[in-house]
Amino acid sequence: MNKKGSLVGAVLAVSVGILVIHVNFVIFQGLFDAIVRDMSDYRFGDIYVTDKEDFIEKSDQVLVNWFERIPYVEAATPRMSSTASINVTKFGQRIEEFRVPLVGVDPVTDVEASTIYTTVEGEYVSSRNTAVVGSNVARDLGGVTVGDNIKLKVTDRRGQDQTKRFIVTGIASSPGGQGLDTSVIIHIDTLRDMLDRGDDTDAILVKLNDRKKATEVRDLFLLSFPNDDFKAETIEESAEEALSGFRSGIAMINMIGLFGMMSSAFAIVTIQMMLVTSKTREIGVMRAIGARRKDILLIFLFQGILIGTIGAAAGTAMGLSYTVYAKETKMTFAGSIPLEVSYDWGKIIQTAFTAFGLAIVAAIYPAFKATRLQPVEAMRTV
C-alpha cells in the first residue's frame, strides 16, 4: 500500500468524521434552534406567563407595565386564545371550518413583543372588527383573501354561542408554518367580549433584550407576585416541553456522529495496520541498524499525531466552511424554516480535540504491533 495514499486516506477518515458532526449540528441543532426562535418570536416570547389554574385575572396593563420597568425587558404583550367556528360565503357557496384556533392580540404592544406581524401579508389586526387569517385556514375556507368577510362563532364562559363578523385585513404565512398559519388573529378586547371574560388574559409574552437574563427576570416576577398563581417559563423551558422528542432525536444524531468518528478511528487502525504490514521489511531494517522499539513506536505514533492534526484541522475547516455557508445563505430545506445557525466554539473545539485524540489512540495498537517485529523475521518479508 502506498504510504502517501494511506496517510491521505486516514486524514480523510478523520476529516469526514468531523465534517459529519458539523453538518449534523448545523442541520439538526439549527432546526431545533430555529423552531425555538420562531416559538419565541411568534408564540411564547422569551418568558411566557400564564395562570396555573385558569386565566390571569390581574390587569394585563399592570403586568405589562411591571415588566417594561425592568431594563432587560424590551416589551411585553397580552394574548388571549380560544377556538372558533368560521364560515365564509364565496361565490354563493357557504364554507365552514370548525375548531379553528383563535388568538387575541393587543395590536399596539404585540408588534413590539412579537414578530408575528411580519408574517402577515396585508394589514395586521388594527381595529376591533378586523381579523388576520392564517394561510392554512384561508386555504381551507376556499381561498379567503384580504377584504373578505368572515363570521366567527365562539362559545362564551356561560356556554352561549357568540357570533361576530370580521373583515379580513391580512393573511399570515410563516416559513415552515411555525407562526399562526392555522389560526385566526383578532383584537384581544373583541375576543374578551365574545368570551365574556372582562379583563382576563390568557398569557403575557415578554421579550427581552438579553435572553440570558430570562431566568433572573422570571424569578424576580414570581417573587414580586407571591400571592398570585402565576406560572412563568423561559423559552428554553417552554421549548423543552414542546420539543423534548426533538431533543432526544438530536442526542441520537449526535451519537450517530460520534459513532461516525469512532468508525474513522477504526479506519485509522486498519490503514495503520496495513501500513505496518507494508513497511514490515523497512521496520526490520530500521531495527537491524539500531532503532529501538521506542523509536519505531514513536514513528507510528507520530504518524497518528500527524493524521490527527491534519485531519482535525481539515475537518474543522470544512465543517466551519459549511457552517458559514449555511449561516450566510440562511439555509432552508425546500422553502421550510430557515435554520438558526450558530457557532458553538465549545463544541467545535471539543469535536476537533476528540478526533485528534481518537486518531492518536487509534495509532497506538498498530504502533505497538510494529515494535514487536523481530528484525530477522521482518526482513524476510517481501
Binding site: K3, V285, I289, D295
Partner: protein
C-alpha cells in the same frame, strides 16, 4: 563465538540450525562464511550481528558479552558497533541516498558532521552524483554501494554482509566485492561476509565453511584447518 547453537521449533519440528560453533575473528580481518543453501551460515551471521538470539553459547564483541545485553542495549550496540549489508540493499525507498546513509546517525542522534561523513563515504563508493536521488530511483548496484556506505557511517567494529552480491549481475558483483575489500583495507575494518560462491571473492584473510549447522573447517589464506 563460543559454543554457539541455535535451535528452531520444538519436539518433532525441532531443527538445529547451528551447533556448537566456536571461533574468533581478528580486528581488520576479511572473513568469508561459506556453505550451501540451508547450511546455517546466515543463522551464524545473524547471531554475530545480534539480529537473533542463540539458544546456547556466547558472542563476544570488543570484550562485551552481547548475549547478556537487553533489547535496548542490543539496539544501541548494533547501531554503534555493527554495520550491515544485506542481499537486497534494503534502503528506505522514500528517503534520498544521502538520507539513507545518514540514517544510522539519525537513530544514534549524533547528526553532527553526519552529512560530511556520509559525503566522504558516498564519494568513496562513487555515488556523489546520486546523493539527492530517492533510493528507489537508483540501480541495484548503486543501491548496494549506498548500503555499504550506510554500513560504514558509524565507523563500526564489524561489517556483516549477507550475500551482498546475490542479487547483482557479474560485472556489478565484481565492483561491489572490490569496493568492500578496498574499504576494509582503507579503513582497517573487520568484514564478515556470507556467500555461497567462494570463488567470487578471490583472496581473503580467512574462510569458514558451515555444513549442516556445524563449522567444519577454516581456510586461513591458503592453509586449510579442520575445525
Amino acid at each position: 563465538m563460543k559454543n554457539l547453537s541455535k535451535t528452531y521449533g520444538e519436539g518433532d519440528t525441532k531443527v538445529n540450525a547451528l551447533t556448537d560453533a566456536t571461533f574468533s575473528i581478528k580486528k581488520g580481518e576479511f572473513l568469508l562464511i561459506v556453505g550451501s543453501s540451508g547450511s546455517g551460515k546466515t543463522t551464524l551471521l545473524n547471531m554475530i550481528g545480534l539480529l537473533d538470539k542463540p539458544t546456547a553459547g556466547m558472542v563476544f564483541i570488543d570484550d562485551t558479552e552481547t548475549t547478556k545485553l537487553n533489547d535496548n542495549e542490543i539496539s544501541s550496540f548494533r547501531n554503534s558497533k555493527l554495520g550491515f549489508v544485506f542481499q537486497f540493499a534494503n534502503l528506505m525507498p522514500d528517503l534520498t541516498v544521502l538520507e539513507n546513509v545518514i540514517l544510522p546517525r539519525s537513530i544514534q542522534k549524533t547528526e553532527q558532521n553526519a552529512v560530511d561523513d556520509a559525503m566522504k563515504l558516498l564519494r568513496a563508493v562513487g555515488l556523489e552524483s546520486q546523493i539527492h536521488k530517492r533510493a528507489n530511483k537508483i540501480s541495484g548496484g548503486q543501491a548496494q554501494r549506498a548500503a555499504i556506505a550506510r554500513a560504514l557511517v558509524n565507523r563500526p567494529s564489524i561489517v556483516l554482509a549477507d550475500e551482498p552480491t546475490g542479487n547483482l549481475d557479474s560485472v556489478t558483483t565484481e565492483t561491489i566485492i572490490q569496493l568492500m575489500k578496498s574499504m576494509a583495507r582503507k579503513l582497517n575494518l573487520t568484514f564478515v561476509v556470507v556467500t555461497h560462491d567462494r570463488e567470487q571473492f578471490g583472496e581473503v584473510d580467512r574462510v569458514i565453511t558451515v555444513k549442516d549447522g556445524r563449522v567444519i573447517e577454516t581456510e586461513n589464506n591458503s592453509m586449510k584447518v579442520v575445525a
